[in-house]
């Protein structure tokens, strides 16, 4: 028996008839071809499969596709704006925040959720914020640096935007 679902992924609506047992990560990777989201441990430990579901970070190996019905999903493929990398992607590049790169999509999605909740986190808050994401290369020092850089870059960009308003208001 299949269930008909509608999910919006990175702004695009998709419909599918899925077995209830299909995991969200397999819907993303196998049905929709969005292979940026990785399957690591498959036991909700490692966080490589982290995506946003209605704005909240989730481990997509521990959520059924039917649970995502009617919801909005954001994956690593939805982060860049055309050829312009998201500040987190750019920061992971600049700070060498990845070694083998396997954990990176999940790290970036979790970091994006964290910065949405807390735009100016301390190092400790960053480390707790990504505590559900494992890097087996143990590249945490540079991952933390990358998130710090992205936080600063995003704050600067926000300031530039809001700074223009008083001028416009005269």
């Amino acid at each position: 028996m299949t269930t008909h679902i509608t999910v919006t992924v990175n702004g695009e609506a998709h419909q599918a008839d899925v077995e209830p047992r299909l995991l969200l990560v397999h819907l993303l990777r196998d049905t929709l071809g969005l292979t940026g989201t990785h399957v690591g441990c498959d036991t909700s430990n490692c966080g490589a499969c982290t995506v946003h579901v209605d704005g909240e970070s989730a481990k997509s190996c521990t959520m059924l596709a039917v649970q995502a019905d009617g919801r909005s999903i954001k994956t690593i493929e939805g982060m860049a704006d055309g050829a312009t990398l998201h500040p987190l992607q750019q920061a992971f590049w600049d700070q060498h925040g990845l070694q083998c790169g396997f954990c990176t999509p999940g790290m970036i999605m979790q970091a994006a959720w964290l910065l949405g909740e807390n735009p100016d986190p301390s190092e400790e808050e960053i480390r707790w914020g990504i505590s559900g994401n494992l890097c087996r290369c143990t590249g945490y020092v540079n991952i933390v640096k990358a998130i710090q850089q992205a936080a600063a870059d995003m704050a600067a960009a926000a300031e530039t935007q809001t700074g223009a308003q008083p001028v416009a208001a005269g």
Binding site: T43, A58, V66, L114, S131
Partner: protein, 310 residues
């Protein structure tokens, strides 16, 4: 890993949910966040024939103080509880425990009701429910022969849905086994309102974030006007077939003036009442020693908070 095959329904109301449970008795499981159930299904340790997703059942995620108790809806996520102003301001030990469950992603989706109903012997919430003398509210269809009379709320007896309010002490029967009847839904957890002079503490030892607790201890103490302990609750998880109330430690504390020495005695009693098994998280003696130490630390925090809330 992929779960075995099952059917899936998403009822819109609690009544509908209860009717489905009755129709598919013995094969239906309730799904909330899924962070406890889905891992078991992926390992094929659980193979329900039907998942009943509670997502569309409204009115089960409140976090609100009533006259006598703090009411937390079963579908409230650990994170919603953590961030609720009343929790942050008054129920500090709930603020603590919701910071240590799983990891951030788990806390975004995992719910108190799911966690309590799942009753993993190493899960966090049961320890606090026991220490704080919380109650668990279950609802079932009225007139159901499976439905127990114990704890039934007479005011709700005429309604189609009957409610039972079960004390946490007596609720956790064994590993993954609770006093919820097969055709009931856990709808709410109630904590007694915090009186003046009461404080709580929570301590958990885990090898890494997201691991099952090696041991966890929740402590709640209430001081009388002279600063003596007039009531104490100690709940322990991870070191027995099921989380338990360390009644020997509570007896050590009750009626006495708080002191480091008294806390040590209570810790030793809690360790002695534990029934840990040796595993990758450590041998039996080590786990007992950890329970003792965590008890002391949780009591210190509880005492500070009780005094600060005089």
């Amino acid at each position: 890993m992929i779960p075995g095959q099952f059917d899936y329904v998403r009822p819109g109301t609690l009544d509908e949910t209860l009717a489905i449970l009755k129709d598919r008795e013995g094969e239906a499981k309730l799904l909330s966040g899924g962070y406890s159930l889905l891992p078991l299904m992926k390992l094929r340790l659980a193979q329900p024939g039907l998942l009943v997703d509670l997502r569309d059942v409204s009115g089960l995620d409140q976090i609100v103080e009533k006259d006598d108790y703090l009411s937390i809806g079963a579908k409230a996520t650990h994170r919603q509880i953590h961030e609720a102003p009343v929790i942050r301001d008054t129920y500090l030990v709930l603020h603590d425990i919701t910071a240590t469950i799983g990891d951030p992603q788990v806390r975004n989706w995992g719910t108190i009701g799911g966690s309590v109903a799942h009753a993993d012997p190493a899960s966090d919430w049961p320890a606090l429910l026991l220490a704080a003398n919380a109650s668990i509210v279950c609802r079932g269809l009225a007139g159901d022969p499976h439905h127990l009379r114990v704890g039934e709320n007479p005011a709700a007896a005429s309604a189609a849905v009957r409610e039972r309010v079960l004390p946490a002490r007596g609720f956790f029967l064994d590993a993954f086994t609770t006093a919820i009847e097969p055709l009931e839904v856990l709808t709410e957890v109630r904590f007694p309102r915090r009186p003046r002079g009461q404080g709580g503490g929570w301590q958990k030892l885990e090898r890494k974030v997201g691991d099952f607790a090696t041991a966890g201890v929740a402590a709640v103490i209430r001081l009388d006007g002279d600063g003596r302990i007039e009531g104490a609750g100690i709940g322990v998880t991870g070191v027995s077939d099921s989380p338990f109330a360390a009644t020997d430690a509570e007896a050590v504390l009750t009626g006495n003036a708080p002191s480091e020495d008294l806390f040590r005695q209570a810790g030793t009693a809690a360790g002695a009442q534990s029934r840990p098994v040796a595993d990758v998280r450590g041998p039996v003696d080590y786990k007992r020693a950890m329970v003792a130490e965590l008890t002391v630390r949780a009591l210190r925090t509880a005492l500070d908070r009780a005094r600060a809330y005089a």
